[in-house]
């Protein structure tokens, strides 16, 4: 079954249309990348799926069920998002424990203490971090917390918006390994936005190259590895990375 299906998706911010007629189908268990330059609309697609960019037309389906425009609890249970900047995405005055418990409280799920303990273990954070504040953690540790928060509701799909671009290379390696392991263990589907092609090569199965709000090419990661992208713009991106 498809984890995510987008049909003729247009997304606007006010009067400006930023995504034009995107069609995409991500099967369950796949790791799919959206690549392209800033302003190409790749993050906007993630935001629309997560419900943060409600001005869209067309169709967004999650696990076969069409998504409504408003806040949708069922979608939140199945789709969660991890943001780029671990310094900005955690509430500075909430402990890790309360940040991780909040989604459980909203969805009326009990057994919170145990669930928080379990998820910290999954993302490789020691229990002693549980009652600390974000400023007491390093960038890599915060991104682990952000991933842990996304996993609290046991979603099927993770939307990853540049999850490692704010991190050092060695920390990036840790987070990429973590994401790969979690996907294997929990059979997650990833839709990841990035402009780092080597990261796509490591973590993804397919990619879509976007420009000016449109998808210009969808390719297999094997094509990327062999440098076998068809569209001139994709080749340009590849050249900028490989140079």
């Amino acid at each position: 079954m498809s984890a995510l299906t987008l049909k003729n998706l247009d997304i606007s911010y006010g009067d400006t249309k930023v995504v034009h007629g995107v069609n995409l189908d991500v099967p369950e268990g796949e790791s799919f990348a959206l690549v392209g330059e800033s302003g190409s609309g790749k993050s906007t697609i993630l935001r629309a799926i997560a419900g943060l960019a409600p001005e869209w037309t067309g169709e967004i389906s999650v696990l076969g069920k069409p998504r409504t425009h408003g806040v949708d609890r069922n979608v939140s249970r199945t789709v969660q998002m991890v943001f780029q900047d671990p310094y900005g995405s955690l509430h500075p005055r909430k402990t890790i424990d309360s940040a991780l418990s909040e989604p459980l409280a909203i969805h009326g799920i009990g057994n919170r203490g145990e669930r928080v303990e379990a998820v910290l273990k999954q993302v490789g954070l020691d229990q002693r971090f549980r009652f600390r504040f974000p400023h007491q953690l390093s960038g890599g540790q915060r991104q682990r917390v952000a991933i842990a928060r996304a996993l609290m509701l046991e979603p099927k799909v993770l939307l990853l918006d540049e999850p490692t671009s704010a991190l050092d290379v060695s920390v990036q390696a840790e987070i990429l390994n973590l994401l790969k392991r979690l996907r294997r263990e929990q059979n997650l589907t990833f839709l990841m936005v990035t402009h780092n092609l080597p990261v796509v090569s490591f973590l993804c199965d397919r990619l879509a190259v976007m420009r000016h709000g449109k998808i210009v090419e969808i390719a297999d990661v094997a094509q990327l590895k062999q440098g076998d992208l068809k569209e001139p713009y994709s080749r340009e991106l590849l050249a900028a990375t490989a140079a």
Binding site: E37, S38, D168, V169, S170, P198, S201, T241
Partner: protein, 278 residues
């Protein structure tokens, strides 16, 4: 090449904490001629602090000491603030990481570039205007008259960074320190910005210190590389020799980067306990 442009010997930068002073740069030494030097390291390795201490930009309670910190024979540590202002910008300048936070939001691009110039030189208005337009062309801005009238929020990140470079290079300094000049930019724009820096630096025979966490990028644009970890230089090598790096930290950093034709199932991760410190 006669005497070196910059000589640094046993540079130490420390900050007070609850448990005594902590040294973030621990005895760094290097000399720089009219060449391109890359300083690579992770967050907290002290690379930015090194750049800042050369410009004497570390404020109290931070403390900078060195056996020698000389720029063209001038002892930087001996200069007072007024003397430093004559050096900063005019002779040594610095490009910061993020154009969004480093440009003045209420001044037009042209005014800001002019300010950098007239602070250090007395020039007629027409000449200033001409120099600004020339400089904008030099950083490959196509429509300089229009761009000079824009405010920083009206330009893209890549253009903002080129404006920063224009501002830093217009007084024609002898040394440019670029602290992560492209990490806020897209991959496709990164190369453009670095090509511009590279071109201008080579053409004017300036010295360049490029500070970055990106090993690949530094090896592409520099002649020589210092790899820093926890306030110390762990390795120094010619840029072309990076793949032959010896130190386990450098090797670890290189291995941790995914490559475009990645076949590894898991990326090797640095074992931080191996190098005590941060």
């Amino acid at each position: 090449m006669s005497s070196p442009l910059l000589e640094v010997e046993n540079l130490r930068v420390s900050f007070p904490t609850h448990s005594g002073r902590v040294e973030v740069v621990k005895g760094l030494s290097f000399t720089l001629g009219r060449e391109r030097l890359g300083i690579v390291g992770e967050s907290g390795s002290g690379k930015s602090m090194t750049g800042r201490s050369i410009l004497k930009l570390i404020r109290k309670p931070g403390e900078v000491t060195a056996d020698k910190l000389r720029f063209e024979g001038i002892d930087i540590l001996d200069q007072n603030e007024k003397q430093m202002r004559a050096i900063r910008g005019a002779r040594i300048s610095m490009v910061m990481q993020d154009p969004k936070f480093s440009l003045n939001p209420v001044m037009t691009v042209g005014e800001q570039i002019a300010e950098a110039l007239v602070t250090h030189q007395r020039l007629g208005r027409k000449e200033v205007q001409q120099r600004i337009l020339d400089m904008l062309v030099a950083v490959r801005i196509n429509d300089p008259e229009r761009v000079a009238k824009l405010y920083p929020h009206e330009v893209s990140g890549g253009m903002g960074q080129r404006i920063m470079i224009a501002m830093m290079l217009i007084p024609e300094p002898e040394l440019l320190i670029a602290d992560e000049p492209t990490s806020a930019l897209d991959v496709s724009v990164q190369a453009q910005v670095l090509d511009i820096i590279d071109d201008l630096v080579t053409r004017k025979g300036m010295g360049l210190i490029l500070i970055s966490h990106d090993l690949a990028l530094v090896s592409r644009y520099c002649d020589r590389i210092l790899v820093m970890n926890a306030g110390r230089v762990v390795e120094e090598c010619a840029a072309g020799q990076l793949d032959k790096a010896q130190h386990p930290y450098t090797r670890g950093l290189l291995a941790a980067m995914p490559v475009i034709d990645e076949t590894r199932d898991e990326l090797p991760v640095l074992d931080r306990t191996q190098w005590a410190g941060t």
